[in-house]
Symmetry: C2
Subunit: 352 residues, 2 copies
């Protein structure tokens, strides 16, 4: 089995990192305070096994009770918990493709088989194909907004993906960057009730990729089953304190969100002017393709200049979709965007 | 499936917590500094995916190269990674019993079957039974020192547990409390080479149960396979900084270890004077049984006084072993021990 290959994470300074969709702005000062206070707390004692205080804060934001919330060590752990809860070896997992290929690695570890729902050029799927694949699935994973394409699917589209005897997982890692942010409203719609789990992360909108904390929101009955398979103390006391402070400081997150959305418009416009086909984005990154098709060369030329973007290739996409490869560029600060655009202005004439 | 039930973790003050084998002393001041420094670091950026700096520090302590080390989110995650790496559904897992029953929950999640190697009254096993069970196992888990009994098995005894086509996992959560501490020496013995994994945790000797960090030590070939199944960024930046500072401050850990070992002698002596049968311990807890058999009542009487110890019951032990139930009492501070002994002095006459 081949392991999932995450984006490059150089630990030395001097890089303009636009490859793994981190938030370019720091976390709330209240998060820093919370971590520093936790450092002098009772670290020799096991944490609250169910992160009660955090769950209360998250429940308030989502308009549910705390028994809808399960905290995890990054949303990757939440995805693992979902597979371990709902799948047996041989169970069918479905996800749109191209999308977050880690689902395939996680499925393989658990001995599940995976079917890809191939996206069309306009990022829609064939609804009868969707229904047929989802029907027999135990889990359907849908990043919404999607990565790498940054599009958001509607509730009616998502409804086509409900398994008959399984769960639809909305991986909302990027939801806070959507034009209309949402807080689990679909979970309360009759058609989705008890058939859907929403996952969230602190790595993106809350600027906490360094602490690894995520959570899921789902009907208490589903959540109760998931609690049984997680590690007893999966969330550390410091990370939980940080996440609790972060989710309580919505103003800080929303202010950063506004900055990212403003820069997203600027970046999209500039990329289009440089000749890229830019997919409208509801996330903190932009998927773009150049008619020259020289995405790998552009990626490498940027890397030589210490600018990292993500060159992505997807084997086996729908033939006419044009989704074989492209660049996924994180929306950074305006300064980072200036550096990127200046470099591209130099690079692109050579590449076309 | 029934989930593993961890020890009680009251979050309010006023409890004397001697039930989950935490270290009663705080972590090194250098750990506190490292966490506070990390709080103002680049938390918006993903951590180093392989915890390089930590692995270098751990490798030095164990006299190996960093590619022997895999960091995890608490040693429970390391155990999960081991099962996911080496087992398929239906694979056989063996462990001595009574021992750490979480192994059974983790095995069940992965669809593995578990065989218990039943301990005798003197905490040894039947060597032909051990060989027969281990022979066909994919993984053999052995806590060494064991919990709840606190005994340490010898290298020759452990050799009896080597699977023919599998791995022996030494769960060394309590190794630093053994009379002769060890640092993976067995991994370099010919008979165990490439057939053994050692796991360690920061929750006990390093006083960091709050941060959830553990690691495994094993031949690079085994370790490489395990890297493929872990989450991409399973260790958070703050926890990794804390663990790195902790492992570098051996003096602090060893000073706390000395205090725990001194109190262990005192506690064992006093419990014996109170009429308990005390099993000699190589860990930071003591397994004791009272001839009255009224372990649950003693546990409850202590709990009424806000003193928590662990009342443990083990179904299906070897009939003549006498290991059906007992009390596992963590070695706390001298003050906590005074409180416990004063309470027991009141309680015991009523219970005998």
């Amino acid at each position: 089995m081949r392991g999932y290959v995450p984006g490059e994470q150089p630990q030395d300074d001097g890089w303009t990192k636009l490859n793994t969709n981190e938030n370019p702005y720091p976390p709330s000062p209240k998060v820093v305070e919370a971590i520093q206070a936790a450092a002098t707390g009772r670290l020799n004692i096991y944490p609250d096994a169910t992160a009660t205080e955090f769950r209360e804060a998250a429940a308030e934001l989502f308009g549910v009770t705390p028994d809808w919330i399960l905290a995890g060590n990054g949303s990757d752990e939440n995805l693992t918990i979902l597979i371990r809860s709902f799948c047996d070896p041989g169970s069918q997992i479905v996800y749109p493709y191209p999308s977050y290929v880690l689902y395939e690695s996680l499925a393989a570890i658990q001995g599940c088989s995976v079917s890809r729902l191939l996206l069309r050029a306009d990022l829609s799927w064939d609804s009868s194909e969707a229904a047929e694949l989802s029907e027999a699935a135990r889990l359907v994973f849908v990043p919404n907004p999607n990565s790498p394409t940054g599009n958001l699917w509607s509730a009616d589209e998502l409804q086509q993906l409900l398994p008959r005897d399984g769960i639809l997982v909305l991986d909302e890692a990027y939801a806070d960057f959507a034009d209309s942010p949402h807080s689990g409203e679909l979970l309360r719609e009759e058609r989705f009730a008890q058939r859907m789990v929403v996952t969230r992360t602190f790595s993106k909108s809350y600027s906490l990729a360094g602490i690894r904390f995520g959570f899921s929101v789902a009907d208490p009955e589903l959540t109760g089953g998931m609690h049984k398979v997680r590690d007893s103390y999966n969330c550390d006391a410091v990370a939980t304190a940080a996440a609790t402070a972060a989710i309580r400081d919505q103003d800080w997150m929303l202010a950063n969100r506004r900055k990212v959305l403003a820069t997203r418009v600027r970046l999209a416009t500039a990329l289009a002017e440089l000749g890229f086909n830019v997919t409208p984005s509801q996330a903190n990154f932009i998927w773009c393709q150049h008619p020259s098709g020289r995405h790998q060369q552009i990626y490498e030329a940027l890397k030589e200049r210490k600018i990292l973007v993500r060159f992505m290739q997807f084997a086996g996409v729908r033939a006419e979709s044009g989704l074989d490869d492209g660049l996924r560029i994180t929306v950074g600060t305006d300064e980072q965007t200036d550096l990127l655009l200046a470099a591209l202005t130099t690079i692109m004439p050579e590449q076309t």
